[in-house]
């Protein structure tokens, strides 16, 4: 008895006493929560697919856009403008690390448009056959972000080599991480980061919270943070630039709307939003 008693709270034994009732009720409703989306999701997938093929040509319905984290602010604005220009159309965004999004696309994630923060990542998606061809729509360079109330003074790239300076960068498979490593090596400075975050916004958060003294982020991230971090510009000659490609996904169930969104990003209206956010022309 004593050995089994310890498990009752985790529902490993059928409930008997009244004190245990709440747990079993909780377990039952939890089962419902787990199963409901599973069943609903299964039905939805079957009913949508045949319908989507028949509406080719018109700009309607919803599209899912996977985009690099650094595009978050600019793409949210572009998405809202695109929706306003095409009433009834819905753009759903999934922002994340470009490389992670590429993996999800390779695993068959239901996606219509992909915008990456490096041509290398887009090339891997093209190699997988998920995309035919991509167009570059923007460029970005790196900047040092420091907390609004810094504990330790950082004024240049060379300061990051200091032993007392805590530096956050993106992990190396993510474009912003690859760019940070290139930045360090081409300027011949040895930096030992305290953390390699999963995407650029996570680096920005660590800077904003003051947990690190500096982070390598994009110029646009400092601008988007609106004073929550202080940016230290890197001279153009020392800096690293990354280009952003965008493409509709070949197997998109809403190809015409996906193409229309890509066209909108490449249009003057799209370029204006990107320029306002601090992106450079490719």
């Amino acid at each position: 008895m004593n050995s089994s008693a310890s498990f009752h709270l985790f529902g490993w034994r059928p409930s008997r006493g009244s004190a245990r009732r709440p747990h079993s009720r909780l377990a039952r409703s939890a089962l419902g929560i787990v199963l409901a989306p599973l069943l609903l999701g299964g039905c939805a997938a079957h009913s949508v697919q045949p319908a989507a093929g028949s509406i080719t040509g018109s700009i309607a319905g919803s599209i899912t856009v996977f985009a690099a984290s650094s595009l978050k602010g600019a793409f949210a604005t572009i998405g809202a403008q695109f929706e306003a220009a095409h009433p009834g159309v819905k753009v759903i965004f999934n922002f994340g690390p470009s490389s992670g999004l590429a993996t999800q696309i390779a695993q068959g994630a239901p996606v219509d448009v992909f915008a990456a923060a490096s041509t290398k990542t887009m090339d891997s998606v093209i190699a997988d056959g998920e995309v035919k061809a991509a167009s570059t729509f923007a460029a970005n360079s790196m900047e040092i972000a420091t907390p609004a109330h810094p504990t330790r003074s950082v004024t240049s790239l060379a300061d990051l080599a200091g032993a007392a300076i805590k530096v956050a960068i993106c992990q190396q498979d993510v474009p912003c991480g690859a760019a940070a490593l290139t930045l360090f090596s081409q300027n011949r400075i040895r930096v030992t980061p305290v953390t390699q975050e999963l995407d650029v916004k996570a680096v920005l958060t660590k800077v904003q919270l003051g947990e690190v003294d500096a982070g390598i982020v994009y110029v646009t991230d400092v601008k988007a943070a609106k004073g929550a971090v202080i940016g230290i510009q890197i001279p153009a000659a020392d800096n690293v630039t990354t280009t952003y490609p965008i493409a509709p996904i070949t197997n998109s169930t809403n190809g015409s709307t996906a193409q229309a969104f890509v066209d909108y990003v490449l249009s003057d209206a799209g370029k204006n939003v990107l320029r306002a956010a601090g992106f450079l022309s490719p």
């Binding site: 008895m1 004593n2 050995s3 089994s4 008693a5 310890s6 498990f7 009752h8 709270l9 985790f10 059928p14 599973l38 690390p97 490389s99 992670g100 993996t103 390779a106 504990t151 805590k166 956050a168 992990q171 190396q172 498979d173 993510v174 980061p193 305290v194 953390t195 390699q196 975050e197 999963l198 660590k206 919270l209 003051g210 947990e211 690190v212």
Partner: protein, 269 residues
């Protein structure tokens, strides 16, 4: 076990069919992991520097987090089960919060408390130059925060159903408080301590959200196996699958340990 729990030979279909679906739902992902594992170059992936570092770090931090849970969690379990003090119900509710809280939220909360600018962490920083974020002890803190409630709740539950008359009987026979604890309470509590410890260890081993939020991600320092799996998925998915196999093996190992030592004997003890 009583007769009420006797198996029925021909279960009704309305129960059997969803039961089979549930079993497949739980089992197929494991099958997928095993089928898609890069068996041919498994050795190379598993003996790589990143994998070994992550495995070592995971075992060290999960063990440390479990020890922390025993040192401070078991006394709390005893207090909750046996002592009368104001706010006991609130304390019990507080213990269950990390169980239901999304671990990422836990990580943010830890940063705001023990981070460099946190309500407590800023004093650590200014008085002793100690920072927890982005260090291996930080990983232990994140894991202990998420996993300790498993031990506390398991042990508290066992203490509450433990028959106090047995201890009273020992006292009437002249045993001292220490002797009672050592010879009576502890042996009766042992199964719960082991079960709670294994659950805590397994939960600590799998911790991801609080760790990456509070302790960051740096190979060899804070990159535990779950973090290495996630990062691997962004670079080389086959590496992620191989690393997942280690976690699966360790978790199943913990389960087997539980089953052989404690679950099977549960009915007869």
């Amino acid at each position: 076990m009583s007769r009420r729990g006797r198996p029925i030979t021909s279960p009704p279909r309305i129960v059997a069919i969803p039961a089979v679906i549930a079993l497949l739902f739980l089992g197929l992902p494991i099958v997928g992991l095993l089928l898609r594992a890069p068996w041919s170059n498994l050795g190379a992936v598993l003996t790589s520097r990143t994998s070994l570092d992550a495995l070592r770090l995971s075992l060290v931090t999960a063990t440390a987090a479990t020890m922390v849970a025993f040192v401070i969690g078991v006394p709390l379990a005893w207090m909750l089960a046996r002592a009368q003090f104001p706010g006991r119900r609130l304390a019990r509710a507080l213990v269950t919060v990390p169980l239901v809280l999304p671990p990422v939220v836990g990580g943010i909360a830890l940063l705001l408390a023990f981070g460099r600018r946190g309500i407590v962490g800023q004093y650590f920083e200014s008085c002793c130059g100690v920072t927890l974020a982005f260090t291996t002890p930080g990983v232990v803190v994140a894991e202990a925060f998420v996993a300790m409630p498993f031990l506390i709740i398991t042990v508290e539950g066992a203490l509450r159903v433990l028959d106090a008359r047995v201890e009273e009987a020992a006292a009437t026979l002249g045993a001292g408080r220490l002797t009672i604890f050592r010879r009576v309470t502890l042996p009766l509590l042992a199964p719960a301590l082991v079960a709670g410890g294994v659950l805590t260890f397994a939960r600590a081993l799998g911790e991801f959200g609080a760790t990456i939020t509070f302790a960051g991600n740096l190979p060899g320092v804070t990159q535990t196996l779950p973090l290495a799996v996630y990062v691997g998925l962004e670079g080389d998915p086959s590496e992620a699958v191989a690393l997942s196999l280690i976690l699966l093996a360790v978790s199943v190992g913990a389960l087997v340990l539980l089953r052989d030592r404690w679950l099977r004997t549960g009915a007869s003890a």
